[in-house]
């Protein structure tokens, strides 16, 4: 087991309450920052840590913070993105429901660094019960003087509010989130201006993922340099991975970045291997990242062992690599059908498209229809090239990354599993049974003329 920075006390009884959290070293980062550090020094520690945004994009957090505009007399905001809607991702929910105070602590310390006196947690509406847990933690923290006016006699005031959404994947995109927080439809904004200059209510705003803000706690406690010792290359520290799909041990794991992919998926400490069949494919970072065959998850195209890091998973680009993304990991066994899964992915993106940009609004629906007919044995050979063409015309042509996120699963499925799409066209009767590969797994590179 690697070092546990966020999960060290996850199973300690009473850790959900302030008393238990405090007894296990909680709120030390607030004491250290407010009593002994300047806001700039906290930002420097975060820069030194090499921490990258844990929501999926992996942008360096310290750099994001340093872009925050500071016009005099204008309030600044920290907004925590707890919208967690990327399929396969459930790490933030797990963290918030078990150790809510680590998020509250991280928000106070981070807000001190940013000079924000008010911060908001935007949490997806489906997590209403988690919002209640956070509200209780905030009330406890306020009663104990960790929130409110003049915290620890430092002169720093801070309030945290929880805001619930109401069911919209797009609100995980930071500008859509801000629109939603302002009481509007979740339509992403055109950037620039970036939120760091013009965010919530037109004021400078930093939007960070739950896990990112929680990681500020160990970074301030132990120093950025200490955090940066963990990991490999530019992938420093630990990462929460939520693992699901056809594995023996689904759950949330805190890994040191740089752990071998083989160990992660097969060792009993983590996923525990496949659930009784054979692995076929892996989506390592949420549904938006490219799906890769199991062999390409274990090893790069050059035959190097693949690591759980931003760089190693992306090795080979979109030809043979994928992405760490949000850490929403799910694996497929050989009973699964890639066409069915791609249809499912695409239905999701069509349902979640906000409708602002034509390539995404129309393209996702079009791809969904084509995939539906392919999966039901009603497709044509040209449909495969048609799908390729549509996804190419969505990618890069939309205001926000949802368009890319809808395109990549389709592109990677065709790139790596084209024969499976062709099989659906050539053997329509066989694919009429929705569980067509459960009885007779599809064999890649086989001459399926005899199938």
């Amino acid at each position: 087991m690697g070092r546990q920075l966020l999960f060290e006390h996850i199973n300690t009884p009473g850790i959900r309450g302030l008393e238990g959290y405090r007894a296990n070293g909680g709120y030390r980062s607030v004491e250290k920052a407010l009593r002994t550090m300047s806001p700039e020094a906290v930002v420097e520690e975060v820069k030194a840590s090499g921490l990258r945004g844990r929501g999926g994009a992996g942008f360096p957090t310290g750099m994001k913070w340093s872009f925050l505009a500071k016009p005099p007399g204008v309030p600044r905001y920290l907004v925590v993105n707890a919208d967690e809607s990327e399929p396969g991702t459930f790490k933030d929910r797990y963290l918030m429901e078990r150790i809510p105070h680590i998020l509250i602590e991280g928000m106070i310390t981070s807000s001190f660094a940013l000079g924000a006196n008010t911060s908001y947690i935007y949490i997806r509406g489906e997590y209403f019960y988690v919002a209640r847990i956070l509200e209780q933690a905030i009330a406890e923290a306020r009663a104990a003087g960790w929130l409110g006016r003049n915290i620890l006699g430092s002169g720093f005031d801070h309030e945290i509010h929880v805001q619930v959404g109401a069911g919209a994947y797009i609100c995980g995109e930071e500008t859509a989130l801000l629109e939603s927080l302002e009481g509007k439809r979740g339509n992403p904004r055109i950037k620039p201006p970036f939120p760091a200059v013009k965010g919530l209510y037109g004021c400078p705003t930093v939007v960070n993922n739950v896990e990112t803000i929680a990681a500020v706690v160990p970074i301030v406690n132990d120093g950025g340099a200490e955090y940066a010792k963990i990991g490999v290359g530019r992938s420093t520290g630990t990462k929460l991975i939520s693992a699901g799909g056809n594995i023996k041990r689904p759950g949330v794991y805190e890994i040191e970045l740089g752990l071998s992919c083989d160990e992660f998926i097969n060792s009993d400490e983590y996923c525990g291997g496949v659930d009784g069949r054979a692995f076929k494919a892996v989506v390592p970072g949420g549904s938006s990242v490219p799906i890769v065959p199991y062999e390409l998850f274990l090893r790069t195209a050059a035959g190097e062992p693949r690591l759980m890091s931003y760089e190693s998973l992306a090795d080979g680009g979109f030809v043979s690599g994928t992405m760490l993304g949000s850490g929403g990991f799910y694996a497929y066994n050989d009973a699964q059908c890639i066409v069915r899964s791609t249809w499912n992915h695409t239905r999701f993106y069509h349902h979640e498209s906000c409708g602002q940009c034509s390539p995404c609004r129309e393209g996702t629906g079009w791809m969904e229809k084509v995939l539906e007919r392919l999966e039901h044995g009603e497709g044509r050979t040209e449909d495969i090239d048609l799908l390729w063409d549509i996804q190419r015309k969505i990618e890069g042509n939309t205001i926000c990354p949802l368009g890319d996120a809808a395109a990549w699963p389709v592109a990677s499925a065709i790139r790596h599993f084209r024969e499976e799409f062709e099989y659906h066209v050539r053997f329509p009767q066989k694919v009429k049974d929705p569980k067509h590969f459960a009885k007779e797994p599809f064999v890649r590179n086989a001459n399926f003329a005899t199938a």
Partner: protein, 185 residues
């Protein structure tokens, strides 16, 4: 048309709606969380309260009442209510079963659970049983992929579903016969 723009129901527009005193107090407390002039930020939380006070769905009258509380144009409320999938724009059953159907749940058997519930309840996803007890909804990823398949009913997540557990849940809810809302504590 975008899946994110759904028609509102005007046929039931004559049904009266008024917030309870407790709900109004909660609305005012929510509005006070935001800076001067920014109370529109409370729109989504207040729509959740209105839905809970209107048998689980947002009628035109309920949305108009929300506009009144916040001092907004009615269209500002309609356009938001119709965007977010947790807001029901048509009458729903006593229980709304939000069954996750997204890929990670599909890999762990959500198709079977949905097909079973459709058979058992005699409705397709989106439909409400004739006795008004259950509305079955196929929804997108609820962030419970490690405990899939799963469904949400009110504020509760029902995880690691099997056919047997789904049956037991239906029986239990039917016997209890009291509405659940997302806002339940």
């Amino acid at each position: 048309m975008s899946a994110r723009t759904r028609p509102i129901t005007t046929t039931e527009g004559t049904r009266p709606f008024a917030f309870s005193e407790a709900a109004l107090a909660e609305c005012r407390a929510l509005m006070a969380r935001y800076p001067e002039g920014r109370s529109k930020s409370a729109l989504i939380p207040i729509l959740h309260i209105a839905q809970a006070e209107n048998d689980g769905w947002l009628s035109v009258n309920a949305m108009d009442a929300v506009a009144g509380v916040l001092g907004l144009q009615r269209i500002e409320v309609y356009e938001v209510a119709s965007f977010y999938s947790m807001f029901n724009l048509h009458p729903v059953g006593t229980y709304v079963l939000d069954v996750c159907r997204t890929t990670p749940c599909m890999l762990r058997g959500s198709d079977d659970v949905i097909a079973h519930l459709e058979r058992k309840l005699g409705v397709h996803c989106g439909g409400t049983t004739a006795d008004g007890m259950f509305t079955l909804k196929g929804v997108e990823c609820l962030g419970s992929c490690g405990t899939a398949p799963m469904l949400q009913c009110g504020a509760h997540y029902h995880e690691d579903l099997t056919i047997e557990r789904a049956d037991a849940l239906i029986d239990e809810l039917r016997a209890r016969n009291s509405r659940t809302n997302y806002t339940d504590r």
